[in-house]
Subunit: 249 residues, 2 copies
DNA sequence: GTCCTAAAGTGGTATGACCACGGACTGACC
DNA sequence: GGTCAGTCCGTGGTCATACCACTTTAGGAC
């Protein structure tokens, strides 16, 4: 059901509902595909038998869900499925939860560990080359926190992409905004010392090698190890920060 | 950003935008919390300086995102974060993808495997008892496909819940609708013979025991084994179906 | 006290008009 | 002939107003 406010039993699908179901059906069935242009609001409202404000409410709602791209003076276009809406919805859903920025890492680990297993079986040579390229970028940008962070993300994203699973990819994109916020937040706690960064590269290399050898168990093990190390580093930094504060109140 | 159609640079936040950001901010900051009742549309439109149709567009959009519950004759209430919207958004995002009902199983495996690892560390005694209860239901409803399917889902859901990770839980709820469709679709391919069902119970029991022993590696191994067996069964059934069709065209 | 009814308040819809933006056509100018 | 400017048309964006449908509630009849 696209319409939220509805749970009654098949009465008269009041105007706005009709419009929503009308588009939902056509979007799900593929009759309306990305890039298609909708009729004008006036014609549509006439065709669907509703007033223009009602039609607009439905259209705006669909735009809010990221399904339509409505542009002033031009018209409404069907938008290609976009994970950004998912990310927004997830952010809003998880907003009231405590420690969500820590918790979202669990989802990240979940997706990536399964993705790398699939990637071991499905990754094409081009996928592997793409991942290797992100590794090169990672090495090149060790001293640049900004670029380095981007390369890090690109590496992990490339792995998920190599899994060739649309579901894993969409979910990963959906949690990406929260992942970014989490990453930014813990930048305050993590220092990139040379010893750490070199270890970081090595960890990524191990993950990549296991993947290139098409060894799922080893790849997942390496990946989990990589995550665990990062977690411990952050924890240690937090501890030492506390200790410093304790000694100099 | 809650508003999709906007990417320009800080011009005049046209009416509808103002309303959207107004509510988005108050929802994210917690100033508006679940259960709160909004002012009437007429008062709100007056207070925010927009016309009622515009105000309604924004309100309906928020309702579409599951953030508001608007009821005729009563008013608009802030809704507690609900994963059902996520599920709908995910369904619409994944609609154009081929074989999405198979692919969503990868996401399921990803979430559950990480969830059971966390559950090994975090599950309370009550969590374990809840999981055990679903196992009992599963055994009791072996001959009832309907109840059996429900018990099966309840078992896996209880594991995710025991992980005590809001993110994993929300995502699992989000993919649940697709999971259901997937389950229904492959009911046509899977026959529940006595030998299979007994094996099914045993597989679930092994998963539960490993979890109760708080052994993450073993628990994940058992869970992956359970998924793999189900996959192979389905594949074999498909093969035999094809062979039958081939022999009797 | 209980029940029914009517009024008030709420969201739902419709109409019509006007404004703002974008593109296309057409004309003049180079 | 090509290019640029202005105008016009179609589009979404907004507004005001009126009326309808549903829910609740308060008042009156019993």
């Amino acid at each position: 059901m696209l319409a939220i406010t509805r749970q009654d039993n098949e009465e008269t699908p009041s105007g706005a509902e009709r419009v929503l179901t009308f588009f939902r059906d056509r979007l799900l069935s593929g009759e309306l595909k990305a890039g298609d242009r909708l009729l004008g609001e006036r014609e549509l409202s006439l065709a669907l038998g509703v007033s223009r404000p009602v039609l607009r409410e439905a259209l705006r709602s669909l735009a809010m869900l990221g399904l339509l791209d409505i542009r002033h003076g031009r018209g409404a276009y069907v938008r290609s499925a976009d994970a950004s809406v998912l990310g927004q919805a997830l952010t809003l859903c998880l907003a009231p939860e405590p420690n969500i920025l820590d918790d979202v890492l669990q989802a990240r680990i979940a997706i990536e560990c399964q993705a790398i297993r699939l990637a071991c079986a499905r990754a094409s040579e081009r996928d592997l080359q793409a991942i290797a390229a992100t590794l090169d970028t990672l090495v090149d940008s060790l001293d640049d926190p900004e670029r380095g962070g981007g390369a890090d993300y690109a590496f992990h994203l490339a792995i998920v992409r190599a899994s060739d699973s649309a579901a894993l990819m969409k979910i990963y994109e959906a949690i990406s905004p929260l992942l970014m916020r989490s990453h930014v937040e813990r930048r305050r706690d993590t220092f990139r010392e040379p010893a750490i960064t070199s270890g970081l590269v090595e960890a990524h290399r191990q993950v990549f090698l296991a993947l290139a050898r098409r060894d799922p168990d080893e790849a997942e093990r390496a990946l989990r190890g990589h995550f665990r190390i990062g977690d411990e580093l952050r924890r240690n930094n937090l501890i030492s920060t506390w200790q410093e504060r304790g000694s100099t109140p």
